[in-house]
């Protein structure tokens, strides 16, 4: 739940004067997105999303994020498109923070994932990976394998308060994951979303009422990394039922639709189990870090790290690609 920075209407009008979007017609904070302040903005030119980048986003990385969205949109992917001001710049400042206006996407994210969401998701993910080709900038994955040991170290003092023995268990998992991780260059790399959870994928029904993806949003974890790692993130985020069971039917639907557009190599399929363990420990560690570093009274909804411990344990036990649908 967001909106950390309050923007006065006068300051907003002055900001909008630098765009060719016409007059301000409506402006409301959006209660979604965790990292930034997001506003639904309506001007004479239509509907937009105004984002103010809060302190967890490094301003130096914004040209990568905005450039990637621009590149993807230009190649036909439905994603927020940065809107440039009259001077051609999309990245600007507002109320003391970096800020950008992007196009508004219609669609609704699935609060409950159904099997029929998975094939459209797989297609959209493959299209994202193909559309990312040719984008010239690189951003290392700060939350990739090299980031996990420091994150775990940061949780060492208080991690066992969440679950006795947790830190030792994670030490074991992390060592196993890092030793099995694909060598550099062994798998195809590209621009990945890295956080393609259900709340970042909008759907609308097609003429027959079946869900189709109307847009992908929130590219602020995007980076340059193994394409198959993005698939592994989706297997984590989309293929478990509320009771914790892995739904292999969902996984197969997602992987099949993905591979129909961008075939997975044998090496990528073979690596998926360890990539899934990596994705599970990545979300587990950031949640655990937030859990152990957030004062109990803070105005932030803390996400349960143990949800990802259960997923990590599942993937650690699922030794074969077949067990996870690959």
């Amino acid at each position: 739940m967001a909106v950390y920075t309050e923007v006065s209407d006068e300051v907003l009008r002055a900001f909008l004067a630098d765009y060719a979007l016409g007059g301000l017609l409506a402006f409301r904070g959006i209660a979604e997105g965790v990292e930034n302040s997001n506003y639904a903005l309506r001007t004479a030119a239509g509907d937009f999303i105004l984002t103010l980048y809060e302190k967890r986003v490094d301003p130096a990385e914004l040209p990568y994020f905005l450039g990637l969205m621009d590149h993807l949109a230009a190649r036909g992917l439905a994603c927020p498109t940065p809107v440039a001001g009259r001077d051609g710049q999309a990245l600007r400042r507002l109320a003391g923070r970096p800020a950008a206006i992007c196009t508004f996407l219609e669609g609704v994210w699935p609060r409950r994932v159904r099997p029929e969401h998975l094939a459209p998701l797989g297609q959209a993910l493959a299209r994202l990976h193909l559309a990312g080709e040719g984008f010239a900038m690189r951003r290392p994955n700060a939350l990739g394998p090299r980031g996990w040991a420091p994150l775990l170290d940061g949780c060492r003092a208080r991690g066992d308060e969440v679950l006795p023995g947790l830190v030792a268990e994670l030490d074991g998992h992390l060592a196993a994951i890092l030793s099995a991780w694909p060598e550099a260059g062994a798998l195809p790399e590209g621009q990945i979303h890295a956080d393609l959870f259900p709340d970042n994928v909008f759907f609308l029904p097609d003429a027959e009422g079946r869900p189709r993806v109307s847009g992908l949003i929130d590219f602020y974890f995007a980076c340059t990394d193994l394409l198959a790692y993005d698939v592994a993130v989706c297997l984590n985020a989309w293929c478990f039922e509320p009771d914790g069971a892995f739904n292999v039917t969902k996984a197969r639907a997602m992987l099949g639709a993905y591979a129909a557009l961008r075939p997975l190599s044998g090496a990528e399929r073979a690596a998926l189990p360890v990539l899934c363990r990596g994705a599970a420990i990545r979300f587990l560690l950031t949640r655990l870090y937030d859990w152990t570093h957030t004062p109990p009274g803070a105005l932030v909804t803390r996400k349960d790290p143990l949800e990802y411990l259960r997923k990590l344990r599942f993937f650690a036990g699922a030794a074969t690609p077949g067990a996870i649908g690959a």
Copy 2:
């Protein structure tokens, strides 16, 4: 900041099937409004606000609130208009809660109140009072004079933690306010908004760039009470500067524009000082109650009760209507 109840897209689609609004196109939580869950909803028929009424709203009072909005909108006031389902009913249930869809209003509420907002505000308030005539339902003001002593009693145990001596000072103010309060029938009554703070008033610039009111929202404190009390609420909510100083120019602009449409009687003008003290103690007491009854870790932004102590002291010292612009 709101959105307490999460609505799944399937449940929402089933809910929308009871309306003639066409298919769902977008659905996002709004980070404004304190009491209820609000969503920006787009369907083939346009933009709407979906509200789920949370536990602080008594379901038995919803027919009054929705009926009043309907009545006001039918008489030309720009306010959210409840949208009826196919069966003619606007008040429905969704996700286990009472819920209603209302029309979307364009406009932006003023984060910083400027003098030129006040005349349009006064006009809009007078129009609201005139449009409310003929509405057949009554709702007593639960947060009116008879509610203040019980509220203060609820703060007695911990009120002095906010400021030493506060409870005794409020006992004195409250006794003085209640003894000076207008007799029943002495002043005109009608339907009042009772919470017309800046975030409930949307503005858009007119052709010359001057602010005009595009809509009034959030009628969930509306009730049947002294019309001049609503004026007193606005004097509290709109006419103090951030440094605590009362801006009599703003007050005069608001009162003049109000009276041009609905003249204030001599008795109403004479009563304004005590009505302002009443409005100040009303917001002071609810804030103090929330402050002393909210656990420090709760996901709620507590508003400062002492802001209204300063206003109460100002009005207690401003003995004459002239001192407050009347």
